[in-house]
């Protein structure tokens, strides 16, 4: 780890107004995360064009703040409303809401805050420690490997996302196809512009992101009626929540590592990590752990501890493929990747060499953000959390649309971007309705230019020979991994059945 760069990054994060933007991001993220159906991805998408007015590091810190705060904020609705604010808080519902029902609202909320803090703190430290190793791995990747990792990332998402393989591949390929509109990378030939100057720079991916994540969500919310919450005020003890969390260090450690590990896999987000951590906590629990003989699913504090520490550490884990390879693992990291590219930063080797101070600033702001979450979670949320969830969705919808329209126009002062926003908002709604993965689509739009330029560069290096994609060990492994991911689910059941028949 470069100590000078680390100190430089610390200086950057704690400077003003960047630190102020981190606080703003965390608080906005908490509010958005607490509103079921909104979530950090939509908030980050709205904030993205606004970050044009900021420098690159400040923009990323703001987006990380919203992401991190949103992950914690999901637990507020989970505990108060029996509805996870984000899918990463789904397991928190299982014990958080029963705790609230039994009069331990503040205890549940403070367990969530402390667990999220410890998960984020542990992961942030680990990220800084392993960054030199990441650097070595990233530098070993050349153009063929960068093309193949983009393809692998797309194929992983299409499999793990909530859709069929066929629909996932359609969505990912459609995104790649959309990215071909405009001037071709490495050549000066316009494609699919129909002579319209507004399309020469292609479809702006930020407008696409805002349409898919923010506008399509508003369609879903428009069908909701009334306020989200009808619950009572907060009660219980914050101090008992802190004690409850701190007396479970093994659970905290395991859940943090689970979140980091699963978060670093493209496509495997907080939904998986919080359930895996919850299941592990349940499996390893014994009667001596329960001070009041509550079972899991009936308000056991360990259930909230495991789920919440895992989902916030997933945020940190997901930064690894995003920054190192440009492969976002979720909607939020897709928007974060959009932020990187919008500010002229390329994921990959540069982020671990000439731009290492930016990478460290991102990791440090994630780590520092955990402290802000702790303060907000212990001193503010137990008092006012229930007000957030009483907001009526009909007040949120028109304001989000207005911000999205202005945001998209602000990108290039080009009305094509506003039409893109509206079109992809409608398209995104229908794609979600019928299980066409939006993550795969967004990945295609974002990774398309990266994949295509590396494809061309690789073929130029090899004088047109496609063997360049299999003649190095790393690239061969990536090809095999892609084939396995795409065709394994089709081949394994028949092979498994055949083996069972023969054995049986």
């Amino acid at each position: 780890m470069s100590v000078d760069t680390l100190l430089q990054s610390l200086d950057i994060v704690f400077s003003w107004p960047l630190f102020g933007w981190l606080i703003v991001g965390i608080l906005v993220g908490i509010v958005l995360g607490a509103l079921p159906g909104i979530g950090p991805a939509a908030g980050m998408a709205i904030a993205l064009p606004i970050t044009i007015a900021l420098d690159g590091i400040t923009a990323l810190v703001l987006l990380i703040g919203i992401y991190n705060g949103g992950m914690y904020g999901g637990s507020i609705a989970a505990i108060l409303l029996n509805t996870p604010g984000t899918s990463g808080a789904a397991a928190t519902v299982l014990d958080g809401y029963p705790m609230a029902r039994s009069g331990k609202v503040r205890e549940a909320l403070s367990i969530s805050a402390v667990s999220s803090f410890i998960g984020g703190l542990g992961t942030g430290i680990l990220l800084l420690v392993i960054s030199p190793l990441l650097m070595e791995v990233v530098l070993a990747f050349q153009s063929p490997e960068r093309f193949l990792i983009a393809v692998l990332g797309l194929s992983l998402i299409t499999i793990i996302a909530r859709s069929s393989i066929t629909k996932g591949i359609i969505a990912g390929s459609l995104g790649l196809l959309i990215s071909t509109i405009g001037i071709a990378p490495m050549y000066s030939t316009p494609r699919y512009t129909f002579g319209m100057f507004g399309l020469y720079n292609g479809v702006h991916f930020v407008a696409v992101l805002m349409g898919l994540f923010a506008i399509s969500e508003m369609f879903v919310l428009a069908a909701e009626k009334g306020a989200i919450s009808k619950t009572t005020e907060s009660r219980g003890s914050v101090v008992s929540g802190i004690r409850s969390t701190l007396k479970r260090p093994i659970t905290l450690l395991k859940s943090t590592l689970i979140g980091l590990g699963i978060g670093s896999l493209p496509g495997a987000g907080a939904t998986i990590s919080n359930f895996v951590a919850y299941s592990e906590a349940m499996r390893s629990s014994d009667s001596s752990d329960s001070s009041d003989s509550t079972n899991f699913g009936e308000g056991h504090p360990k259930g909230v501890v495991s789920a919440e520490s895992a989902n916030n550490s997933t945020v940190g884990g997901s930064l690894i493929p995003t920054i190192a390879f440009g492969i976002p693992g979720s909607g939020s990291t897709a928007v974060l990747l959009g932020g990187l590219i919008l500010h002229g930063l390329r994921p990959g080797p540069d982020m671990f060499s000439s731009q290492l101070h930016i990478t460290y600033s991102v990791f440090i702001s994630y780590l520092v953000g955990s402290f802000i979450i702790l303060v907000a979670g212990l001193f503010i949320i137990p008092r006012v959390g229930h007000y957030i969830t009483k907001l009526n969705v009909d007040y949120i919808i028109p304001i989000v649309v207005v911000l999205a329209v202005f945001g998209s126009l602000a990108l290039r002062n080009n009305w094509m971007d506003v039409f893109t926003l509206a079109s992809f908002g409608i398209l995104g709604f229908f794609m979600k309705q019928y299980n066409y993965s939006l993550i795969a689509f967004v990945l295609g739009v974002v990774l398309g230019p990266i994949a295509e330029s590396n494809l061309h560069r690789s073929l130029q290096i090899s004088n047109g020979s496609w063997m360049v994609f299999v003649n190095r060990p790393i690239s061969l492994i990536l090809v095999l991994a892609t084939v396995f991911v795409l065709f394994g689910p089709m081949l394994f059941p028949p092979i498994r059945d055949r083996i069972s028949e023969q054995l049986g």
Binding site: P36, G39, P40, A41, A42, A53, G85, T86, S87, G88, I159, A161, R162, S163, S164, T166, K167, G168, I169, I170, S173, L177, A184, Y187, T189, R191, Y192, E217, M218, F219, A222, A223, E224, A268, G269, A270, T271, I272, S330, S332, D394, Y395, I397, P398, I399, V401, V402, V405, F406, L409, A410, V418, F419, A422, Y434, S437, L438, G444, G488, F492
Partner: protein
Amino acid sequence: MKEENANLPFPEVGLLLLFFVASTFMYIESYSFPSEVGRFPQITSFVVVIGSVALLGKRFIPDSIMDLLPDASTGSSGLGSMTDDFEVNENEPEGDSNYDAQIRFGGLMVLYVVSSWLVGLIWTTPAFVALYLYLTDKPWYTVVALTIVSYSIAVLFGLVMSMDVQSGVML
């Protein structure tokens, strides 16, 4: 299995037809570009065409082949399924009133975008917010308050981002 997979909802058929038509056009058009430039759109549009045809025509595909293809209609995706991190509400529109609310929202949004392009954002923005809140039966004071907020957003963007919010293609 064949019956289960036979009928796609009508809107999904429309979606797939849109994908099919757009990708077919882009595939054909890609041959008008130089070979290196057309390669990527050819590959990607071809995949979309094949995928769309496969889903549109699945009622005609034999069961033995369909069994090899995990599909959303069976809920199976090989390695398990998960939600994206922003997709929490999985509510289907319950009845006509919710679907009407979505149509209303979509219509107002399109009207807002088109009218803003024609005459500028400065007045269409508060009008959109006021109209949406009025149609959703919100108290008058919240309508007024959010209308003022939206007008302020328009003015702020005009000043800070140097955007032309006063005029459109017609005015």
